[in-house]
Amino acid sequence: MTQIATPSPRVRRLLPETATYITLSIAAFVSVFPFLWMLISSTNTSIDIIKGKTSFGAAFSTNVVNFFTQVDVPLVFWNSAKVSILTTLLTIAVSSLAGYGFEMFRSKMRDRLYALVLLTLMVPFAALMIPLFMMMGRAGLINTHIGILLPTIASAFIIFYFRQSTKAFPTELRDAAKVDGLKEWQIFLYIYVPVMRSTFAAAFVIIFMTSWNNYLWPLIVLQSNETKTITLVVSSLASAYYPDFGVVMIGTILATLPTLLVFFIMQRQFVAGMLGSVK
């Protein structure tokens, strides 16, 4: 009896395997569907989108033209690119130095400070928003890109990430370099950076995405259409008096493209870098 009830080993192996593929396929479909929806909607008129039309339409070129007439696309992209690339590079510079410093030159005092830095991870942005905003006002940095940049550069999370990854940096390399008479900043620049390049790549991906998609702080700081980033443009198009959802969809596509590209170009290094950080 039991003989019949128990499935054969082949079935027993195949069953979970099929379940695995089904689960992963569902997850992949759910993950990708909104992107598909974005593409479909971008080809439909606003009324069709509101009514939930699920097939491709013929309004794509109209939507694109409308988007380009309503939005100064080159300027908006330039603003977004400027802010996110500068933020990314500066954050990487400051945080990798700090991660290296905290890990390589340990002392009681610095370990305590590191703990303090980690504590700031818990401070929500909402609690900083008002004083930061007043500070920027007094410094005359409202409506400037520097105003957005400055408070986002020092990131406890990225410092933590770099310190964790630095643990995997081979100390023999550093010792050898010291014997060769290299100064500490030379070791950092010429040995640490090249060796840890996948760590840097992963950091680049994470910071660039966060910064490109940053919303609340730019929403508060940026006041004029000349300084707006693409994220703000999409949000105000969608909350316009009579939003044209076809145009909004073009906006979401354009806002998503750069992060998508960065991710696809750097995917391999990104995964390698993440691997290094959780060792």
Binding site: V30, G52, Y100, P124, T256
Partner: protein
């Protein structure tokens, strides 16, 4: 000679140590530590706009009698208490499935599931808003397969609006957490699994008794990061509900309430700062509890 050398080494350590961390410390000092104290200071003041007057504990009294604050607090708590565990478990399951040997299309699945993380919070909120509208594609699909007879008011009924917010953030962040787990899993020696498998340990037991304990530090880390993120929830609700946190304040979060107090209502910076301190306290207590729980069990 030996003494001088250690002294020199200490000096070398200190000079370099401080130099390397100085930029970060300066920035954190100015843009994190100072504002957080300034916020504390502000929370003792009240008034319209810039005409602030010392109010002592007036803002705390106001907090205690403010039903909207209570709603925002309850909503925020509901969101992370329900959403974070669902997401973490989902991410863990997906990561261990993706980590299986001889899995075909692993790269495709991984990329697809990670894809939501590249979507901007604003863009995907706008997308979800259109997908989940009364006549939207989701209601159409659910009705087509016979799951529901009437369209669900995802954005007009308080309960469903909450569900929608949870669905949205889970969609956006599961892949992100999954990547952390996947990275950690790939560092684990596969032979442990192989041995367990040969010993006849079923898949779920391998997941519970091998995967989860080995990933504990990563799980702890992602749980804390996700909790902090959910407690700060703003972009999604702001863009899904036209900045109102409706219907019936069902989706108003603490961050959104602070924003409203500062930029939408009669500006009351002092009171907004007081509300923001509630978030600080919440995050601190929760992180402490999570660390503590993790330490206890190990």
């Amino acid at each position: 000679m030996a003494l001088a050398k250690t002294g020199g080494l200490k000096r070398y350590y200190d000079v370099n140590g401080w130099l390397f961390i100085a930029p970060a410390l300066t920035l954190i000092g100015i843009f994190l530590i100072y504002p957080i104290f300034r916020s504390l200071f502000l929370s003792f003041y009240s008034g319209k706009g810039m005409m602030l007057k010392f109010a002592g504990f007036g803002n705390i009294t106001r907090l205690a009698n403010d039903p909207v604050f209570l709603k925002a607090l309850i909503n925020t708590t509901t969101f992370f208490v329900i959403q974070v565990p669902i997401m973490i478990v989902l991410a863990l399951i997906l990561a261990s499935l993706l980590n299986m040997d001889r899995l075909k299309f692993a790269g495709f699945f991984r990329t697809a599931i990670f894809l939501p993380c590249v979507a901007s919070l604003v863009a995907y909120s706008v997308l979800f808003k259109s997908m989940f509208s009364v006549d939207g594609v989701i209601n159409q699909a659910l009705m087509a397969i016979g799951l529901i007879g009437m369209p669900i008011g995802w954005l007009t009924e308080p309960f469903w609006a909450k569900v929608l917010v949870i669905l949205a953030i889970t969609w956006r962040w599961t892949g992100y957490n999954m990547i952390f787990y996947l990275a950690a899993l790939q560092n684990i020696d596969k032979s442990i699994y192989e041995a367990a498998r040969i010993d006849g340990v079923p898949a779920w037991a391998r997941f519970v008794h091998l995967t989860i304990p080995m990933l504990k530090p990563v799980i702890l880390f992602t749980t804390i990061i996700s909790t902090i993120g959910t407690i700060q929830l703003f972009d999604e609700v702001y863009n899904l509900t036209e900045g109102k946190g409706g219907p019936a304040d069902a989706t108003i979060t603490l961050s959104l309430y602070i924003y409203n107090l500062t930029f939408r209502f009669m500006p009351s910076f002092g009171y907004a700062a007081t509300v923001s301190y509630v978030i600080v306290l919440m995050v601190a207590v929760l992180s402490f509890l999570q660390f503590y729980a993790a330490r206890e069990r190990s």
